[in-house]
C-alpha cells in the first residue's frame, strides 16, 4: 500500500530497559524515559482514583497542568509526566 507518511517505528533507538515498580508491581521502562509515557507503554493507565467519586483516572494533559497523573515518590506527590524512569524507582499511587 502506498504510504505518504512513512513508518518510522523500526528506526527509533532507545536506552536500555531498567526495572521500576508501580504499587509493588515490577515494570520495565527505558532509562530516562518520561514516567507517564513509560507507564502508558507498560499498559498501566489507571494511576489514581478521583477523590470525589472514586472513579479511575489516568494521565490526561501530558503537560503538567491537569494533575490527573499525580503519583507518589518518596511520599511526595508529583506529576508522573514530569518524572523520568530510573532503575529501582518506586512509584506509588493512592488508588
Amino acid at each position: 500500500m502506498i504510504r505518504l507518511v512513512p513508518d518510522h517505528s523500526a528506526r527509533i533507538q532507545r536506552t536500555e530497559k531498567v526495572p521500576f515498580t508501580f504499587d509493588g508491581v515490577a515494570l520495565m521502562g527505558c532509562a530516562g524515559e518520561n514516567l507517564a509515557a513509560a507507564l502508558m507503554q507498560a499498559g498501566v493507565l489507571h494511576l489514581r482514583n478521583a477523590p470525589g467519586d472514586g472513579a479511575p483516572r489516568g494521565a490526561f494533559c501530558m503537560m503538567a497542568l491537569c494533575q490527573e497523573c499525580v503519583v507518589f515518590v518518596d511520599g511526595q506527590s508529583v506529576e508522573s509526566c514530569r518524572l523520568t524512569v530510573s532503575s529501582g524507582l518506586v512509584v506509588k499511587s493512592r488508588r
Binding site: 477523590p51 511520599g75 511526595q76 506527590s77
Partner: protein
C-alpha cells in the same frame, strides 16, 4: 425608574446579610447591594476558624453568641465543632499563652491548659516540641467559601432582594432619604447601613464622613488532599497560625500573615516574604505538612479601626445612616453582631451593647 426601600444595606458580607435578615424579620423592607458577589470579601475568603482562643477578651461574650449562631447554621456552612489546641513552642510563647488564655477563660470561654501527653494523644502528628498548650472544646471551623451561597439562600427565603456586581458610586439625599447611584437605576432608601468591610472608608466618604478604617491583608493557603493528619483546629500562642484539616483532606492554613495591596486597588497580593514563614510555622507544628503541596494562597482584606473594636451604631452626623464593621474576629462574631445591629436599627434595645462609631478611637472603646 427608581426603587424604594426601607433600608439599603451596602455590603453583602456576613454582617450586612445577617443585619438585613433581622431587619426583614422585624418588618422592614431591606435591599442588599454588593460591588461583587455576596460573601466574596473577607466573609468568604478567611480561613473559617471559629476559635474562642483567638478572640479579644472584651469581645468574648459576642464570640460565644457567635458560636451559637454558627452551630445553628450547621451543615449549610460546613460548621464543625472539633475542639482546638493552641500551642507554644518557646518559653516566651508559653508565658504569653498562659497570660492570654487565662484572661479569655475568665471572660467565659471554656479554655483549659493541657499537658503534652494529652495533646499528643489527641493529635499524634503534631511536633514533639510543644512546650505548653491550651484547649477549648467549643472551637472548630466553618467553610467560609459557602458564605455567599448560604446567604443567597437565606435572603431568597426571606424575600429580601439583593443585587450583586452593583457598586454604589455616589450617595445623595432627597426628602425621603437616600438615593444610591449605581451603574444601573438609582436605588432609593429611607435608611442606609454601611457594611462594606474593608471598603467602609470610601463608602462613608460618599456621605462626607471620614472613618479611620484601615485594612489588614490576611493570607490563607490550602493544600491538596492529604491522608488524615489532624482532627482539631490548631492555633499558636501568638495567633500567627491557624490550621485545620477539612473533611475532604485538604489542610487550610491561616494566621493573619500580611500580603500586599489595598482595597481601593481592588486586589490583594500574596507575598512570599510572609507566605513562606506562615507555611514554615505550620510545617513546624505539623511536620508531615512538608509533603503536602500548596494549591492556592490568597488574601482577604480585614477592616479595622485604631482601637481594634467594632463599629456598630449610627454613622456620626448623618441621620438614618448606620455603620457596621471592623469586628476583630468578624467571621465568628459577624452573624451575631449583624443581628444585634438589626435590632438596634429596628429601635429595639439590643441584647448586648453596640459600639459607637463616633467614639474617640485613641481611647479604649466604650
Amino acid at each position: 425608574m427608581s426603587e424604594n426601600h426601607d433600608i439599603a444595606v451596602i455590603g453583602g458580607g456576613i454582617m450586612g446579610c445577617a443585619a438585613a435578615l433581622r431587619l426583614a424579620s422585624g418588618g422592614m423592607a431591606p435591599i442588599v447591594l454588593d460591588r461583587g458577589d455576596l460573601g466574596q470579601g473577607a466573609s468568604g475568603v478567611n480561613a473559617g476558624t471559629l476559635s474562642l482562643q483567638i478572640k479579644r477578651v472584651r469581645l468574648m461574650p459576642y464570640a460565644l453568641k457567635g458560636h451559637e449562631e454558627w452551630a445553628r447554621m450547621g451543615d449549610a456552612v460546613g460548621f464543625r465543632r472539633t475542639g482546638g489546641y493552641t500551642l507554644a513552642f518557646t518559653e516566651r510563647e508559653a508565658e504569653l499563652l498562659t497570660e492570654r488564655q487565662t484572661l479569655k477563660a475568665e471572660a467565659g470561654a471554656p479554655i483549659e491548659f493541657v499537658t503534652n501527653n494529652q495533646i499528643l494523644t489527641a493529635e499524634p502528628n503534631l511536633t514533639r516540641r510543644v512546650l505548653a498548650a491550651s484547649y477549648c472544646r467549643e472551637d472548630g471551623y466553618a467553610n467560609s467559601s459557602l458564605t455567599g451561597q448560604y446567604y443567597r439562600g437565606r435572603l431568597r427565603e426571606a424575600s429580601v432582594p439583593y443585587r450583586e456586581r452593583c457598586a454604589v458610586t455616589s450617595i445623595t439625599r432627597d426628602t425621603q432619604g437616600f438615593v444610591l447611584h449605581t451603574g444601573g437605576p438609582a436605588i432609593k432608601a429611607r435608611r442606609i447601613l454601611l457594611a462594606a468591610g474593608a471598603w467602609l472608608k470610601p463608602v462613608a466618604a460618599m456621605l462626607g464622613v471620614d472613618l479611620p478604617v484601615d485594612a489588614r491583608i490576611n493570607t490563607v493557603s490550602v493544600t491538596e488532599r492529604m491522608p488524615p493528619l489532624l482532627t482539631t483546629v490548631i492555633g499558636h500562642a501568638t495567633g500567627l497560625l491557624t490550621m485545620k484539616q477539612k473533611g475532604n483532606g485538604t489542610i487550610l492554613i491561616g494566621g493573619g500573615w500580611q500580603g500586599r495591596g489595598t482595597p481601593q486597588e481592588g486586589r490583594g497580593e500574596v507575598t512570599a516574604d510572609s507566605l513562606i514563614p506562615n507555611l514554615s510555622l505550620a510545617q513546624f507544628a505539623l511536620p508531615e505538612l512538608g509533603q503536602a503541596r500548596v494549591l492556592r494562597s490568597w488574601t482577604g482584606f480585614e477592616a479595622n479601626v485604631p482601637d481594634f473594636y467594632p463599629l456598630a451604631g449610627e454613622l456620626p452626623g448623618v441621620p438614618d445612616a448606620f455603620v457596621l464593621g471592623c469586628v476583630r474576629g468578624g467571621y465568628t462574631i459577624g452573624p451575631y453582631i449583624g443581628r444585634l445591629m438589626g435590632e438596634f436599627i429596628l429601635g429595639h434595645s439590643p441584647e448586648m451593647p453596640v459600639f459607637d462609631p463616633g467614639r474617640d478611637f485613641e481611647k479604649d472603646a466604650t
